[in-house]
């Protein structure tokens, strides 16, 4: 306990026991999944991105395992926003905060989703503005700065609770982040997957049913570190890092670049549920070795 208090951190007012949680889309879509997450030791539960109606997602292949990451086009398969209450109850029953990821096709849909999520007791929202492979959602919703701002407005108007916004890597990332922060978004989640494709040379066809998907894992880790660093350096905002956190070093890189917390996605696939404790053990040992007294002093410490 004493040891863990060094790891505690507050993100947009939410007190976390430590900085490591799951990334949206990994296990946070059912009661059983949430239980597995809780068992893994995450400090908060992030739900799968929920949409107004349940979605089946794409037909398989929806996933291509690569040596250095994953390519996925799940197609936002999810049980729909009305399931959110069940998920919230499960997380809260273990005393964990829950961040509800929502995906709408326009500002109005985001509005409705936000209302439902907060009514059900969500501790924070994560706006999925960056899923790269589901037409109408994600990057499509957020294709211009003005729609980004409209989404932020429509969601911030319903609540005083924290709203996080999740973006992907793009050359205009600083403008996008700036526009959202200006509209009162409380934290940025950086980054979502990067579009990618794998072709089967014998079949002469893209492997994913959706043709392309989102690249995650070690392959995008340097891009995630770059993005977190660049945005933190410019705005000193609250940032939650995601992208290739597969061990304590890669997780810590995101923190030193400016992330207050780190989300793990592909890492669960590569290492299983024990990844959370493995990352935390590594960070604890590192802090002991280097004499760091609190996580807070590490956040953004590589940024000059």
């Amino acid at each position: 306990m004493r040891k863990d208090s060094k790891l505690s951190v507050s993100v947009t007012g939410i007190e976390l026991r430590h900085p490591v949680m799951n990334a949206s889309g990994i296990l946070g879509d059912s009661v059983e999944g949430v239980r597995r997450l809780i068992g893994s030791g995450v400090s908060a539960v992030v739900t799968k991105t929920l949409t107004l109606e349940p979605r089946e997602g794409y037909l398989p292949p929806i996933l291509v395992p690569l040596e250095y990451g994953l390519l996925n086009a799940v197609g936002l398969a999810n049980p729909g926003i009305d399931y959110v209450e069940t998920l919230v109850r499960e997380a809260h029953s273990s005393g964990l905060p829950i961040v509800v990821s929502i995906g709408g096709r326009d500002p109005d849909e985001f509005h409705v989703l936000a209302v439902k999520a907060f009514e059900s007791g969500a501790d924070a929202l994560e706006l999925n503005l960056s899923c790269p492979h589901t037409p109408g959602y994600g990057v499509d919703t957020a294709s211009t700065l003005s729609t980004l701002k409209a989404v932020a407005d429509s969601v911030k108007s319903v609540t005083t609770k924290p709203v996080w916004a999740k973006l992907g890597y793009n050359r205009s990332i600083l403008d996008e982040a700036g526009a959202l922060l200006e509209k009162g978004i409380d934290a940025l989640v950086l980054i979502n997957t990067i579009p990618g494709m794998a072709i089967d040379v014998y079949a002469k066809k893209p492997i994913l049913t959706n043709r392309y998907g989102g690249l995650s894992g070690p392959a995008i880790h340097p891009v995630a570190v770059y993005t977190v660093y660049t945005v933190y350096r410019e705005y000193r905002a609250h940032i939650v890092g995601a992208g290739g956190a597969l061990d304590w070093v890669s997780a810590l890189e995101l923190i030193l670049a400016g992330a207050r917390a780190v989300q793990v996605g592909t890492g669960f696939y590569v290492k299983g549920l024990r990844i959370i404790e493995e990352i935390l053990d590594g960070i604890r040992e590192y802090m002991d070795k280097t004499g760091a007294k609190s996580l807070e002093e590490l956040i953004g410490s590589a940024v000059d």
């Binding site: 879509d29 059912s30 059983e32 037909l59 398989p60 292949p61 996933l63 398969a77 014998y202």
Partner: protein, 233 residues
């Protein structure tokens, strides 16, 4: 029986009852049990029952035709007992063929293979016999060793001769056997579910009412873990 040569490389040798995602370019990728694997020339064997568009396309495949495959997926689990009774219905015999090849040496293996009609039984019994496994067939018409369903066959069996029973086949068969289950012997079931990602990430294959994911925790489960799944409904 379909045979495919692996053009890339399987990173590990598949064990029963593992499966792969078999991708028919242009159509879907579907889960398919490994019925056999020859490491010398990396040939994978499958037993396909045409039920819908993808399996029908597969059943018609003739060389040279390219399919995508990824895996092996699922737990490489196999019973540890020395005397094993298999109850297999239809294409549910696929993983048992693989088991017979790899694991029946030095064991007593017996397979009861069930089909609707005698003409569906085909080459399976002789294949199994050639692997040194004894076979009893069951079908509803004349010609099989037993006239009746797999469940009928199960009821008449004296199970004391075995350490373990593995049941594989249509879900209705699994359910009925779970209901009729005889005491004093461990039962295992090879289940099916809608597999999408195959690696525990999409929850598509969750067994209802449990936290078990078929693609990583299965497809073979001991009775106590899936009792509710089989006895409900």
């Amino acid at each position: 029986m379909l045979r495919f040569r692996v053009l890339g490389r399987l990173h590990v040798e598949p064990e029963p009852p593992q499966f792969v995602m078999l991708w028919v370019p242009g159509l879907e990728a579907i889960p398919m049990s490994i019925a056999g694997y020859d490491p010398s020339d990396e040939v994978l064997e499958f037993l396909v029952k045409p039920v819908g568009s993808t399996t029908s396309k597969l059943a018609e495949a003739r060389a040279p035709e390219y399919m995508g495959v990824y895996g092996p997926l699922g737990k490489p689990w196999y019973p540890s007992g020395r005397r094993i009774l298999f109850l297999a219905g239809g294409s549910g015999v696929a993983p048992i063929l693989h088991f017979a090849r790899k694991r029946c040496n030095g064991r007593l293996c017996h397979v009861v293979f069930g089909a609707w009609r005698f003409d569906e039984v085909g080459e399976i019994p002789s294949l199994l016999s050639s692997l040194g496994v004894s076979v009893t067939t069951a079908c509803l018409d004349e010609g099989c060793d037993i006239k009746g369903t797999l469940v009928d066959a199960y009821k008449t069996l004296s199970v004391e001769e075995y350490d373990e029973i593995v049941v594989s086949g249509p879900i209705e068969v699994l359910r009925k056997i779970a209901v009729e289950r005889k005491q004093g012997i461990r039962h295992y079931y090879i289940l099916e579910a809608i597999v999408k990602c195959g690696i525990g990430l999409c929850s598509s294959c969750r067994l209802p009412g449990t936290s078990l994911l078929l693609c990583v925790d299965g497809p073979l489960f001991p009775h106590h873990l899936v009792e509710e799944v089989l006895l409900e409904a």
